[in-house]
């Protein structure tokens, strides 16, 4: 009965693990949307003289402190009406916004000076300069780098476990402790992670070729 690997058990817990994987993917995607939008906002605001310096310090602070403890911190302060999933997604998104902002910044700084000058010469309004000239060129160049952070975020979602989001790892812990078959549970978690992250890494490499890496 107690073989090294129980296939019947593995098959039985697979639906549970897959539902955990679904939560993991949902958290990743929603968090990524926040990271992309907020990161862009930060990258633009950072160019302002005074506000920029404050935002820069905050970003540096978020980037050099661990995500887990940020999660626990917000979890402890948030009112109990907010779901742990929401907290997890928001903290994950804000944490990674500090990274994507740097990526956007490098893209924005890579836009040739002549482009700025030309928009000025045409007396385009600021919104058109950013929206039609600078950002389309800047973002195109950093798409592969942004993609890398999607994978990085996916691999950080197990940390949501710390505040009680039942994602893949938490699910494995549950089915593992119920039956004491940790080998199958955690090995399958590793396998499922690879199943998602290796194809996405290949996809990013394709993107890199297409958009000629930065």
């Amino acid at each position: 009965m107690n073989g090294f690997w129980d296939f019947e058990f593995t098959g039985r817990v697979m639906p549970d693990l897959l539902s955990g994987l679904l939560v993991t993917i949902q958290a990743t995607v929603l968090g990524y949307v926040i990271a992309l939008a907020l990161g862009l906002l930060i990258a633009v605001v950072r160019r302002a003289p005074f506000l920029g310096a404050i935002v820069h310090f905050l970003m540096e602070f978020i980037r050099t402190t661990p995500l887990v403890i940020q999660l626990v911190f917000v979890f402890a302060l948030a009112p109990s009406t907010v779901s742990v999933f929401t907290i997890g997604v928001v903290v994950l998104g804000v944490h990674y916004a500090a990274y994507t902002a740097e990526v956007y910044r490098s893209g924005i700084e890579g836009v040739a000076k002549g482009q700025w000058e030309a928009s000025k010469a045409l007396s385009l309004p600021v919104s058109r300069t950013w929206g039609a000239i600078v950002l389309p060129q800047a973002i195109r160049k950093v798409i592969p780098a942004l993609g890398n952070y999607l994978i990085a975020m996916f691999k950080d979602t197990p940390l949501l476990f710390a505040i009680g989001v039942v994602e893949l790892l938490a699910m494995a812990q549950q089915v593992g402790s119920a039956s004491f078959r940790y080998v199958e549970a955690f090995t399958m978690v590793g396998f499922l992670f690879l199943l998602v992250s290796i194809p996405s890494a290949i996809a990013i490499r394709r993107l890199e070729k297409r958009y000629a890496a930065v």
Partner: protein, 242 residues
């Protein structure tokens, strides 16, 4: 405030464990990164395949998952129980080592081809070529990205509090439960993490400066030690570290 001063030694104990985990992880990750990174540049498919498998597997699985596997699954599978601290360092080292191996591999490949051709014409053996020509140049290239990885590793050590190792995060969470003073307790913990990170970044920049100096390249900013605290010139590199 009094509470914080009273509990200060506990913060330091936690920070000390975090530092130990970080340094242990750095040593292991560095050895693995160098080994598999160099393996990835060898002109034979077998070592290259081994390096690829290592990199893709451990880059693809979160360090926390590896740590859980080592702590919960390994004893059931093999009957060996690793010490928690050791399992944590192993998981962190394996994970960051995989990222590092890619950095090592690409830095070695980025050394100009003429340098390698010169060593061939000087009849240098492979170890001589690596030690005297290729690695010193690749090293200067690796260091900036290593700096990012070192900070990532330090941050990743916080996951050990989920397996009840008493690191800085665990102490912060414990004191929060004890006192209910979430904000001051966590601000101290965040500040300590921030300081550790800045110290690590400073150390790597020192190494960077030394490596460039040895190659006869002048440091870009000058400005003595204080200059190292400033971030490097913009546009130098894009955040593709992860």
């Amino acid at each position: 405030m009094e509470f914080l001063i009273e509990q200060w030694p506990r913060f330091l104990e936690g920070a000390w464990l975090t530092i130990q985990l970080t340094l242990g992880g750095i040593v292991l990750a560095f050895v693995l990164a160098m080994f598999f990174g160099i393996l990835g540049t060898v002109n034979h498919w077998l070592p290259r395949a081994a390096a690829t498998v290592y990199v893709e597997v451990f880059r693809g699985i979160a360090a926390l998952v590896v740590m859980y596997w080592l702590i919960y699954a390994l004893p059931v599978a093999t009957g060996f129980q690793l010490e928690d601290l050791f399992a944590a360092i192993l998981a962190l080292g394996l994970n960051v080592g995989a990222y590092g191996a890619e950095v090592v591999r690409s830095s070695i490949n980025a050394v100009p081809k003429a340098q390698v051709e010169a060593t061939v014409s000087l009849n240098m053996s492979w170890p001589q070529r690596m030690r005297l020509v290729v690695l010193p140049q690749a090293w200067a290239q690796m260091l900036p990205t290593f700096g990012n990885l070192v900070v990532e590793l330090m941050k990743a050590t916080a996951v050990v509090y989920l397996v009840s190792l008493h690191d800085l995060s665990w102490v912060a969470d414990d004191l929060r439960r004890l006192s209910g003073e979430t904000i001051p307790v966590f601000l101290v913990a965040f500040a300590l993490y921030y300081l550790i990170a800045q110290a690590l970044i400073f150390g790597v920049r020192l190494l960077e400066r030394r490596a460039n100096h040895k190659l006869g390249r002048t440091p870009p900013s000058g400005g003595g030690l204080i200059g190292l605290l400033r971030p490097p010139a913009v546009g130098a590199k894009v955040g593709v570290a992860k």
